[in-house]
Amino acid sequence: MSDNMEELELVEGCRRGDNNARKLMYERYAGKLLAVCLRYVGDRELAQDLLHDIFLKLFERFDKFTWRGEGSLRAWVERITVNEVLQYLRKNDILNQSVSLDSVADACEEPDVKRIDSISPQKLMEFISQLPAGYRTVFNLYVFEEKSHKEIAQILGINEKSSASQLARAKAALALKVNTWMKEND
């Protein structure tokens, strides 16, 4: 209960441009948002730059935010982050980069859930970051943003089939990495 009151006060503070509120906001969300950026762009420095711009944008847009209950602030913040990241990717034409075809085996044994549990989050992040850019974007949108292929196609300006095949390849690549790692670290 008090968390929400606190959150509301935080929101009001940010709206007013209160520096303390903004700092608190940064402290609360910077880490998570950086993780999101990293998932998408793969490069740490780039992710940090993006994070910086994202926060500037967030504070600029605070007056348009309406607090609608628990989790609404986080959802809003994450949505803006993903949008900004996608915009960057689009602008830099990363999404259309062709991928070398030899890098992935299409059919690959899908990892066991238990295996995923045994790998640290940092490692998992690393695996995702290592994916080729195009696959990575589709993978992120599908798995983390839970978009359908239709939606992904709309967002990225590709067709649905392309989205589906890129996801398949991303999965295969990841599965390979996971399995390899498991073998090496068993």
Partner: protein
């Protein structure tokens, strides 16, 4: 992602994952923020100059209380006026005073005489009011039938009723309603019957509010008025003989000096004790008992900003009254109104699961169909009203909210001849409650 459990698990494990942020991250950001000037209070924030939360809660609670109290007080006052302006008003205009100065005591029943005997009822309408008040109180205690008559002194109403009272409920009573009375030198006393009025909690149906855009609402409500009269029947009573004193605005008394009198059609003049009385039209309203008004509405709300929205729609109101005519008949008066409301809502306080808002606006209504017994009744003028309300909504879930909305509505006199509960009690307090869906 049905069979892709491992992907789901990946998501779960990374959902709340936080990457370590560079230590200089915030400083860098802070610098840019102040450079960009975004640390200044943007103009839009001006309107959001909010008081700290506790203050706002206090303000909100006060507002809510104030509206409720004002509403209750208004009702109480108007009903007290009613009660007090008891039975027999033999109000006489300044013009006619000389004519009837000596005969005041003869007008009306013996009870009325008692009341009148308390003093000359003369002077300004306000003064009269006081005396009538006293008279009324006196009368009330002696009232055999328990019927309470109400009188309200109207200073500006063009429609006037002139009456003197009798408390004999079983006697036929006559009253003349001078609906289109032009003459205003008549006593500004209007007899209004007290009504059985209850305070009702209306029920409201579904109300939808679209996030940031449109909202739709379905409403059902009764508007309630407090009355301490405790009586079911109001009597527009005259004297025991079923006649009322001559003093009718439609009659030109000055003509009497010629020995000629103009008597309105359908009226009969009889003389008693040397005084002329008019025997009214038997179909005229003698007493009226207003039923609770019922309103059903549908409204659409548009959000202008996060907190401010405007709303309009259409309402249907049914006003029914039981009338006892001069001739002793019981007939029903039924009026159907269609109205267009327009209001603005302002959400001034929000919490985790609740919100408070204020609303103000007005409605224009038109009687589209009316019946007075078997006859059609036409109410030509439009009914204007204004309202103010404060609402509190509890958000039970993300989409569902329950709300209560106490409010005050004031109905402007439509200057028609038709007696409705709104003429009786122009200012009423209402409480709406309902369900609101948000998308």
């Amino acid at each position: 992602m049905n069979d892709e459990l491992w992907l789901k698990r990946m998501k779960e494990r990374l959902e709340d994952y936080s990457e370590p942020v560079p230590p200089s991250g915030w400083e860098r950001l802070e610098k840019d923020l102040s450079a960009a000037g975004t640390s200044e209070v943007p103009p839009v924030v001006v309107r959001r100059h909010m008081l700290p939360i506790r203050w706002r809660v206090a303000v909100a609670a006060t507002l809510l209380l104030a509206v409720s109290v004002i509403g209750i007080k208004l009702q109480h006052r108007s009903s007290v006026e009613e009660v007090s302006q008891g039975s027999f008003i033999t109000a006489v205009s300044e013009d006619d005073e000389e004519l009837y100065a000596d005969d005041k005591a003869d007008l009306g029943t013996e009870e009325s005489a008692e009341a009148v005997g308390s003093g000359r009822i003369s002077g300004s309408p306000v003064e009269k009011d006081h005396r009538l008040w006293l008279a009324g109180l006196q009368q009330k205690s002696e009232d055999k039938t328990g019927a309470v008559q109400g009188v309200s002194v109207e200073h500006k109403s063009a429609s006037e009723q002139y009456s003197a009272a009798s408390t004999e409920a079983d006697e036929p009573v006559d009253v003349q309603t001078m609906d289109e009375a032009e003459s205003i030198n008549e006593p500004k006393v209007r007899r209004t019957p007290s009504t059985r009025s209850k305070y009702h909690l209306p029920v409201e149906g579904m109300r939808k509010k679209k996030d940031g855009h449109w909202a739709f609402a379905l409403a059902l409500s009764n508007s309630g008025i407090f009355s301490t009269s405790g009586s079911d029947k109001g009597l527009l009573a005259m004297n025991s003989q079923g006649m009322y004193p001559f003093n009718n605005g439609k009659l030109d008394l000055s003509a009497a000096s010629n020995g000629l009198l103009l008597i309105p059609e359908g009226q009969e003049v009889i003389f008693r004790d040397g005084l002329p009385y008019l025997l009214g039209d038997s179909k005229q309203l003698a007493s009226i008992n207003h039923k609770l008004p019922v309103t059903i509405g549908f409204s659409v709300r548009k959000n202008l900003t996060d907190d401010l929205s405007i709303e309009s729609g259409i309402t249907y109101t049914y006003l029914a009254s039981d009338v006892t005519t001069v001739g002793g008949e019981d007939i029903k008066q039924k009026l159907h109104y269609l109205g267009v409301p327009l209001r603005a809502n302002w959400r001034f306080l929000r919490g985790e699961r609740w919100e408070l808002y204020a609303a103000a606006g007005g409605t224009i209504e038109r009687c589209v169909y009316g019946k007075y017994g078997e006859d059609d009744l036409k109410v030509k003028p439009l009914q204007f009203s204004v309202m103010a309300a404060v609402g509190a909504q509890l958000n039970v879930s993300h989409r569902l909210g329950l709300y209560v909305e106490p409010g005050v509505t004031y109905y402007f006199d439509d200057h028609s001849s038709v007696q409705t509960v709104r003429k009786e009690h122009p200012c009423s307090f209402s409480l709406q409650g309902g369900v609101r869906l948000t998308y």
